[in-house]
C-alpha cells in the first residue's frame, strides 16, 4: 500500500532540537525530573527532520518495532494523539521508554538522517507523544473486554513481563503478573531514580495494563510463596520468568561490611523504592555522609552518585578504567558532570577502614594503567602497586554489577542455568515445558529495551504454543 502524500516537506538540515533540562544547580538539590521534554514548537521542527524513508531502518532497529516513521509523521502534522495511537500498536510504555530506552544504540543509530547530520531525536519525540497522551490513559483502556483465554503467569513485574502482558492480553489470555516487592515495575521502580523516571509515569503506564484486565499480585515470591508446579496446578498453562538481575556483586575487599558501605542495589532501593530521600517523612532511612564514593562506571553508578549528590554529599565516582570506557549512557554521564559529580578514573578500591564504632572512614585506592584488551574488548586495567593512597569518606556505594536473582532457580532444580542465568532455547523456552524466561535473568545485567524485546518474543512463543498457530496475528 502506498503511503499517503506528506502534508509537509521534510527538513533534515534543521538543527537537532536539544531536550530542555532543569538547571543543573537547581536539579542537584531535588528529586524532580531532569529532562523537561520538547515544546510543541520543537516537536514540529524535529518531526519534520524525519525523511519518512521508504524503508525505515529505525523501525527495523527498534527492538519493539514501533512504527517510528508513522508516529513521527503524525507529530509533524500536529496529530499528537494519533502519534500516541501508532506507538500503542506496539508498546504501551512510551513514557517509560521515551525516558530510559537507549535510543542512541537502536533507532537513532539506524536513522538515515544521522549519516549526514545528527539523527532525528526519536526518543524525545516518543516521550512527547507519551506525555501529551497521559490524560487519556483511562479512556484508552476501557474498551477492552474481559479476557477469556488460557491463564498465563508472568513472574516479576519488570519491563520483560510488562510488555509480555500487553501482547498476551490483547490475544485474550488471562494474564497474572506476580511481583516479590510491594510496588510494581521491578528495576523501573527500585533501580531507576525518580529524576530520570517520575513515578507517576510508571504508575500510569502500568495502570493502563490493569485497566485492560491484567491482574497484578504483589508480595509474591515465586519459588517461595508458591512453586512453579503449584502455579501450573492452579491452572496457569504457561509461565514466563522475568525475575531480573538483582543479586549484587560484592567488591570482595577488606572492610566491605563496615557501616556506610552499600551495594548500589541497597542504596537505590532505599531511596527509589522506599523513598529515603524524604526521610523522616518516609520511614526508611539511608546514611549519606559528607563525602561519598561510588565505585563503578555503569548507569547504576551514575544513579547512585546523582542521588548522593542530591542529598548533599560531595560525591566522586571511582572507576578502574578511563572516561571512554564508562558503560553508562553518555547522557547520564554528562548530567552527572553538570551536577558537579567528580570522576576519579583509573583507580580502584583495595580496602576500607572504619572508626572504633565500625563506620567507614577511609577508602584505600590503587591507580591503574590500561593494558591489553580483555574479553570485553576494552583495555584491561592493570594496578600500579606503588600508587596506594587513602581518601577520607563517609559513604561508599559499590555499583559493580549484578547477577540474576537466584531465589527461584535455587528451589527449581529442573531449570537449567549457567552462572545463574536461566538457559532458554530459540523460542525463549527453558528446560521446563511451558516455562519461558527472558530479560536480565537470561542475559545477566542488560537493558530495559532488550528485556522488553525478550518479553515480546516470549509472549509470541507462548501464544504459538497455546494456540497451536505459529502465524503472527
Amino acid at each position: 500500500m502506498a503511503a499517503p502524500p506528506l502534508k509537509y516537506k521534510p527538513n533534515p538540515k534543521a538543527p537537532r532540537q536539544a531536550l530542555p533540562l532543569l538547571d543543573a544547580q537547581v536539579r542537584a538539590r531535588t528529586a524532580e525530573e531532569v529532562a523537561l521534554g520538547f515544546t510543541p514548537e520543537q516537536v514540529s521542527v524535529e518531526a519534520q527532520r524525519c525523511l519518512q524513508c521508504a524503508k525505515p531502518t529505525c523501525v527495523e532497529a527498534c527492538p519493539l518495532h514501533i512504527d517510528i516513521k508513522r508516529f513521527i509523521a503524525r507529530l509533524a502534522e500536529n496529530e499528537f494523539q494519533a502519534a500516541h495511537d501508532v506507538i500503542s500498536e506496539q508498546s504501551p510504555f512510551p513514557g517509560v521508554c521515551g525516558r530510559v530506552c537507549q535510543h542512541e544504540l537502536f533507532c537513532e543509530d539506524a536513522c538515515i538522517v544521522g549519516r549526514k547530520w545528527d539523527p532525528v531525536a526519536i526518543g524525545s519525540l516518543e516521550r512527547f507523544a507519551a506525555d501529551h497522551a497521559r490524560l487519556r490513559m483511562q479512556e484508552l483502556a476501557t474498551s477492552y473486554p474481559k479476557p477469556t483465554g488460557p491463564k498465563v503467569a508472568l513472574v516479576g513485574s519488570g519491563p520483560a513481563s510488562l510488555i509480555a502482558a500487553y501482547d498476551l492480553i490483547r490475544w485474550n489470555y488471562q494474564v497474572t503478573i506476580f511481583e516479590a516487592l510491594h510496588k510494581l515495575g521491578g528495576v523501573l521502580a527500585y533501580g531507576i531514580p525518580n529524576f530520570r523516571l517520575p513515578r507517576e509515569i510508571l504508575r500510569e503506564e502500568i495502570a493502563r495494563l490493569q485497566n485492560m484486565g491484567v491482574e497484578f499480585v504483589v508480595d509474591f515470591i515465586a519459588g517461595k510463596t508458591a512453586s512453579l508446579a503449584e502455579l501450573m496446578e492452579e491452572g496457569y498453562q504457561a509461565i514466563f520468568i522475568g525475575t531480573g538481575a538483582g543479586l549484587p556483586h560484592m567488591m570482595g575487599i577488606p572492610g566491605e561490611n563496615l557501616v556506610g558501605v552499600y551495594t548500589a542495589n541497597e542504596f537505590l532501593t532505599r531511596i527509589n523504592l522506599m523513598e529515603a530521600f524524604k526521610f523522616p517523612d518516609a520511614p526508611t532511612p539511608v546514611r549519606v555522609g559528607k563525602r561519598t564514593i561510588v565505585v563503578g562506571g555503569g548507569n547504576s553508578a551514575m544513579d547512585a552518585a546523582r542521588w548522593a549528590n542530591r542529598m548533599g554529599s560531595e560525591t566522586t565516582i571511582l572507576y578502574r578504567r578511563g572516561r571512554v570506557e564508562l558503560k553508562a549512557r553518555l547522557e547520564e554521564i554528562e548530567h552527572a558532570e553538570e551536577e558537579g559529580i567528580k570522576f576519579e578514573f583509573l583507580a580502584a578500591p583495595v580496602a576500607l577502614y572504619g572508626d572504633e564504632n565500625g563506620y567507614v572512614k577511609e577508602i584505600e585506592c590503587i591507580r591503574m594503567e590500561l593494558g591489553e584488551p580483555d574479553e570485553s574488548g576494552r583495555r584491561a586495567p592493570v594496578p600500579i602497586e606503588s600508587s596506594r593512597h587513602r581518601i577520607a569518606v563517609d559513604t561508599v556505594v559499590a555499583a559493580i554489577g549484578q547477577a540474576p536473582n537466584p531465589t527461584l532457580q535455587k528451589v527449581t532444580p529442573q531449570l537449567i542455568t549457567r552462572r545463574g542465568r536461566i538457559l532458554i532455547d530459540e523460542h525463549g523456552e527453558t528446560s521446563m515445558a511451558h516455562v519461558y524466561a527472558g530479560g536480565d535473568v537470561v542475559r545477566g545485567g542488560s537493558t530495559v529495551i532488550l528485556a522488553m524485546k525478550d518479553g515480546r518474543a516470549a509472549a509470541q512463543a507462548i501464544h504459538n504454543a497455546l494456540s497451536g498457530t505459529p502465524e503472527v496475528q
Binding site: A180, L181, H182, Y190, V218, D219, F220, I221, K224, T225, A226, G246, L247, P248, M250, E256, N257, L258, V259, G260, Y262, T263, N265, E266, T269, R270, L273, M274, F279, P280, D281, A282, P283, T284, P285, R287, N357, G358, N405, P406, T407, K410
Partner: protein, 278 residues
C-alpha cells in the same frame, strides 16, 4: 493485603498477631521468616513465623513494640488489613534426629524459638528449652513451650521465676561439654554471642538465628550481610540460621546499630504531610 484475625498481648509490649496468609501457611517451615509492612506508610521489617493454623489459613507472629514499625504493626486490630506480608523467606532451621538438643532464647526470641523447638521434638530429638525473661510477668508462651518440649527451664533477670540470672548462666548451671549434641539459639545479639562463647569447645553444633537489618529479604539489597567464618553471607537467603561459633557477632552488633539514631528520629517525627497515624 492480609486480614488480621486475632491479637493478644502476651507480656508488656509483646503482642501476638494472627494474620490470614493461606499460601504462607501451607508452605512455611520452622525457622523461616516473613517481611511485613503494616501500613502503606511503613518500613519493611522481617519477623520470624511463630505458628500457623491450617483451618484458619493463618500464620502467627509475635512483635515487641519498640520502634515505629513494630508499634504500627501492633496498632492493627482484628479485621484490619495488614498492608503487605510476604514470605516464607530464608532457609528452614537445620533439623537432626535422635539427639539431645538444647534450644535457647531470650525476650521475644522465646516466641521465635517455639516452632524450632517443636520441630526438633517432632523429628525425634530430646529437647531441653532454656528461656529467659526480665521477670516473671515477661514470660511468654509458657504453656505452648511446655507442651512442645521434653524439659523447659526459665531464667529471670530478677529471680522472680525459675533460675536467677540469664539463659547462658542457666545453661552453665545445668549442662557441660557432653550434655547436648546440638543446639539452637535465638534472641538478643549479646545473648547469642554469650551462648556461642559458652559452648565453644563443647562439641555442640550450635545454630544461631540472626535478625539483621533487611529490606527486600530476597537477596537483592545485601543490607543483611553477615560475616560467618570469614565469608560474607546474606542472612535473608543463606540464613537466617548460621553456625553460632563462626558468626562475627560484633560486626552484626555494629551493623544493626547503623540506623539507631535515625530510627529514634523517625519515631519522634511528626510527619509534615499528615501521613502519621499517631
Amino acid at each position: 493485603m492480609n486480614r488480621v484475625l486475632a491479637k493478644r498481648e502476651l507480656a508488656p509490649l509483646v503482642t501476638l498477631l494472627e494474620v490470614e496468609a493461606p499460601r504462607i501457611q501451607r508452605r512455611w517451615k520452622a525457622g523461616q521468616f516473613i517481611i511485613i509492612r503494616p501500613l502503606e506508610t511503613s518500613e519493611r521489617i522481617p519477623l520470624t513465623i511463630v505458628d500457623s493454623n491450617a483451618e484458619r489459613q493463618s500464620i502467627t507472629m509475635v512483635i515487641q513494640a519498640i520502634g515505629k514499625t513494630t508499634k504500627e504493626a501492633v496498632s492493627l486490630e482484628p479485621e484490619a488489613l495488614m498492608c503487605d506480608l510476604v514470605g516464607p523467606l530464608g532457609e528452614p532451621a537445620t533439623m537432626s534426629k535422635g539427639k539431645n538438643v538444647v534450644c535457647m532464647a531470650g525476650g521475644v526470641g522465646v516466641a521465635e524459638l517455639l516452632p524450632v523447638a517443636k520441630a526438633f521434638h517432632q523429628a525425634g530429638n530430646r529437647v531441653t528449652a532454656l528461656c529467659g525473661a526480665r521477670s516473671e510477668n515477661y514470660r511468654i508462651l509458657d504453656a505452648e513451650l511446655k507442651e512442645a518440649v521434653d524439659e523447659l527451664h526459665w531464667a529471670t533477670d530478677d529471680g522472680s521465676f525459675g533460675f536467677h540470672g540469664n539463659v547462658v548462666q542457666l545453661l552453665n548451671s545445668l549442662a557441660g561439654p557432653d550434655t547436648f549434641q546440638e543446639g539452637h539459639v535465638i534472641g538478643p545479639i549479646p545473648m547469642m554471642k554469650a551462648a556461642a562463647e559458652a559452648t565453644r569447645g563443647w562439641g555442640l553444633k550450635l545454630h544461631a538465628s540472626l535478625n539483621p537489618v533487611m529490606i527486600d529479604g530476597t537477596g537483592m539489597c545485601g543490607g543483611c550481610r553477615v560475616t560467618v567464618g570469614h565469608e560474607v553471607k546474606f542472612a535473608c537467603v543463606d540464613g537466617p540460621e548460621f553456625d553460632a561459633h563462626l558468626v562475627d557477632f560484633d560486626e552484626l552488633t555494629r551493623r544493626n546499630r547503623a540506623y539507631r539514631e535515625m530510627e529514634q528520629e523517625s519515631l519522634n517525627h511528626k510527619c509534615r504531610v499528615g501521613l502519621d497515624i499517631h
